[in-house]
């Protein structure tokens, strides 16, 4: 039990006092306190509507890995609600933050049932939300270390107040472990990293099932290193070797206008659009070669490659994909992880054919040429 706790103590700076952290992890008291505060009500009522709203935002605005943020947001919202409940009695000295808190919460809650029109507003709401959440965290930091007396003066006695805060943090904490780091959120709100890392460390303490906690314990689970090494090597090989679409491979057909036959690529062997782009270039170079009518034998390869690049980047072709709904979309708009989940088929079209295909999106992709596909015209 000591290794996870040690981890927490190292990273926690001001707001969390170790005895209360220990208290939660060992006795599981956090559970009881959550119920006491009606946390479950909060999460079921408010966040469901909000999360769908936020999901849209996620895909539209590329704030982070799609699908990964909404659960966090719903619990963050939850925290926010609770924060609102708690803040008033506990932190009477900081009314201004309360104000921010309630206003953005209001916005987010009312944005609940609206549709697309709210998403643009939603963006700033998100910002505000995050800001508030962060400030709420700092808020606690302030309360614990700087003004313990203010806690004492609140409605709840100091100790349970601290526990309450921790417990309200924990559901968000647990949820956020399961996703990737919301890096983009952090980028926009650099000061939030403090809060997030705090959450993460509380996770490693509270939720012993989390990977972070497990990784810290030397020699657990008790498996011979020979076995883990061999299994790791086996899985890697199986992914390369197994032709069937299983957890290891994701083969999609790739067609190109004018090519006599199609190809297949395993999307899981790439991790960025750039890699996929290069692979497709290599695969279909022979066809574009024919088209540009190059001749001569020596130095053909190098000639074709540069000509191909000119062709592709010179916007003769665009790469599109067919998604789950059957729509043809331009490759490069959505984050890579989301792309490979939804992509069913790839098609390399001539840009002249692709004009009707989300022209604004193509312009956008031209602007983002470095990261995304360079095929846009």
């Amino acid at each position: 039990m000591s290794p996870p706790l040690l981890g927490v103590e190292e990273e926690v700076q001001s707001s969390v006092s170790s005895p209360s952290v220990e208290c939660i992890s060992e006795n599981g008291m956090g559970l009881k306190e959550r119920n006491y505060l009606g946390l479950s009500d909060c999460s079921s009522v408010d966040s469901s509507g909000v999360s769908s709203n936020l999901n849209l935002k996620a895909t539209e605005l590329r704030l982070g890995l799609p699908g990964s943020q909404s659960p966090e947001r719903e619990t963050e919202l939850c925290l926010l609600n609770l924060g609102k409940l708690d803040e008033k009695p506990l932190f009477p000295l900081l009314p201004s933050k309360d104000g921010i808190c309630s206003s953005s919460q209001k916005n987010v809650v009312t944005g609940n049932k609206r549709g697309f029109s709210d998403t643009m507003d939603g963006f700033s709401e998100v910002k505000g939300y995050v800001y508030t959440e962060k400030s709420w965290m700092f808020h606690e930091a302030g309360s614990d270390s700087e003004s313990p007396q203010s806690v004492g003066h609140g409605k709840y006695p100091g100790n349970s107040g601290v526990n309450v805060i921790l417990s309200t943090r924990s559901p968000g904490v647990q949820a956020s472990v399961k996703q990737d780091e919301p890096a983009n959120v952090l980028q926009e709100q650099p000061r939030a990293t403090n809060g997030t890392s705090l959450k993460q460390t509380v996770i490693s303490d509270n939720n012993t099932g989390a990977p972070a906690a497990k990784a810290q314990v030397v020699g657990w689970p008790p498996i011979r290193p020979f076995r883990t090494k061999t299994l790791a090597a086996s899985s890697k090989n199986n992914d390369e070797v197994d032709g069937k679409p299983g957890p290891g491979a994701l083969f999609v057909k790739v067609s190109m206008d004018g090519a006599p036959y199609l190809r297949k690529v395993d999307l899981r062997t790439y991790s960025t659009y750039q890699e996929l782009s290069s692979a497709l270039e290599k695969m279909f170079s022979c066809f574009t070669l024919g088209q540009c009518g190059s001749n001569g034998t020596a130095g053909k390869e190098t000639l074709s490659e540069s000509r191909l690049k000119d062709l592709l980047h010179g916007s003769e072709y665009v790469v599109t994909y067919k998604d789950k709904d059957g729509d043809w979309m331009l490759v490069g708009d959505v984050p890579w992880e989301m792309f490979i989940e939804t992509c069913k088929r790839l098609k390399i079209m001539k840009s002249s054919d692709a004009i009707g295909l989300a022209p604004r999106a193509m312009e956008k992709s031209k602007a983002n040429n470095k990261k995304e596909f360079g095929y846009g015209c």
Binding site: M1, S2, G28, K178, T208, G209, A210, P211, K214, A215, V217, V218, G219, W220, P221, P222, I223, R224, P225, F226, R227, T228, T230, L231, A233, S234, S235, N237, N238, V241, D242, G243, K244, G248
Partner: protein, 572 residues
Amino acid sequence: MNYFPDEVLEHVFDFITSHKDRNSVSLVCKSWYKIERCSRQRVFIGNCYSISPERLIARFPGLKSLTLKGKPHFADFNLVPHDWGGFVYPWIKALAKSRIGLEELRLKRMVVSDESLELLSKSFVNFKSLVLVSCEGFTTDGLAAIAANCRFLRELDLQENEVDDHRGHWLSCFPESCTSLISLNFACLRGEVNLGALERLVSRSPNLKSLRLNRAVPLDTLQKLLMRAPQLVDLGIGSYVHDPFSEVYNKLKIAIQRCKSIRSLSGFLEVAPHCMSAIYPICGNLTFLNLSYAPGLHGNKLMKLIQHCRKLQRLWILDCIGDKGLGVVALTCKELQELRVFPSDPFGAGNAAVTEEGLVLVSAGCPKLNSLLYFCQQMTNAALITVAKNCPNFIRFRLCILDPIKPDPVTNQPLDEGFGAIVQSCKGLKRLSLSGLLTDQVFLYIGMYAEQLEMLSIAFAADSDKGMLYVLNGCKKLRKLEIRDCPFGDAALLEDVGKYETMRSLWMSSCEVTLGGCKSVAEKMPSLNVEIIDECEQMEFNLVDKQKVDKMYLYRTLVGHRKDAPEYVLIL
């Protein structure tokens, strides 16, 4: 006084093969001791530091087979530094100098150098069998020496060793005259082998019964090998990947069908699941199936394979079989005695596919189950109680819940009652490994009921010294006790130091024992070596008795302090 001449007694003793029995025989009287020691051919030494090679040679001049174990068990889990000890070289050197006609050497968790292998290969004319399990320190060059020099080699069995693979021609070093091979296992080697040399070797080994290949041996070579060795009893497949519509695959199917003697199957280090149907013809005869290195095999393909294995007695599998898959095992494998379920993703985000349900199903369907190693996501007291009722014959029960202090998820209680039921029901239990949330109570049960227990592994358990005391007081046959991350301190350690002389060893790491406590044990019991393993060398400048000891390993010995300990090992 003997009623029979020595030769007759010797002949009688020949029928006594168990080490324990022979040890007992040697204690009866002086003449029995003498007869026994001169006729003893096989010796087992569970801790290489408990005796010296010179004394071994002096007592057993007729020695032919030696089994040695080196590092403590927890070395398997990175808790013991690599150069802690367990070197085999001094043993081989001493045996080589003597007139011992060594024929078989079996080593576990020892450090084996190429130099030792070379010396071994050149010193014993009749050397026949080398078995290395979880050893390290050698390369394929050492194997080449064994292959080249041991003219009558019958067995070369390498299990889970860390071998530096120089991709040399060690297989080609078997001379053309070597036709005596019965068992060849090189599955743990990571490098290429000379396939032609392998084929020729198998062709000229008519007695070959056991062949376990490594990943570098492709399917077409496998097919050729099987055609040449249809008498195989134990097969380990390296790579099992091919196009199911190819000529090679068809040939393989024919070759496998000819192998009517195969009873044991393992490997599949690389596997294409759609080719498994070729294996079905031999599944009906299998008694041992080891798929624990084949993560590529799961789901329906795995189910189908298992459904053909009606005679299975031992199954080693990955947890991607799932509870549902274990249900299939329960329905199909009625003869099952040993089950090992390994985690396919030990550090993953809690997605281990087996829970208590799978275990309960197997226990209900396989009443002969007596040996278990089970890595799972969670366990309940109710499940353990049911398992205890269904299978009272457990000899080995090792449960590892991936989250080390997880309680019963249904009741939120510790797992004391569940394990208590196991020890109470399984009167013949010899080995037990605990996990999950556990208090002192479970140790009370163990002390009360686990009368035959010889080995106990404890991690992240107990509330106080009482836990350890219950075990030390109650388990009279305890030989090995290994503890990590438990609140046991000096009071427990010092309660009955005489007990440790009746045991092989005690390991305690990240507990509450202090340097003073350990010193006390060492003072009172000169027949024990008390080693403090202090990798961070914290104790060098701070030899204060009150200092807590991170890792302590104590063991009984007849030869005092060892001379080969590294600097960070302090022998008290």
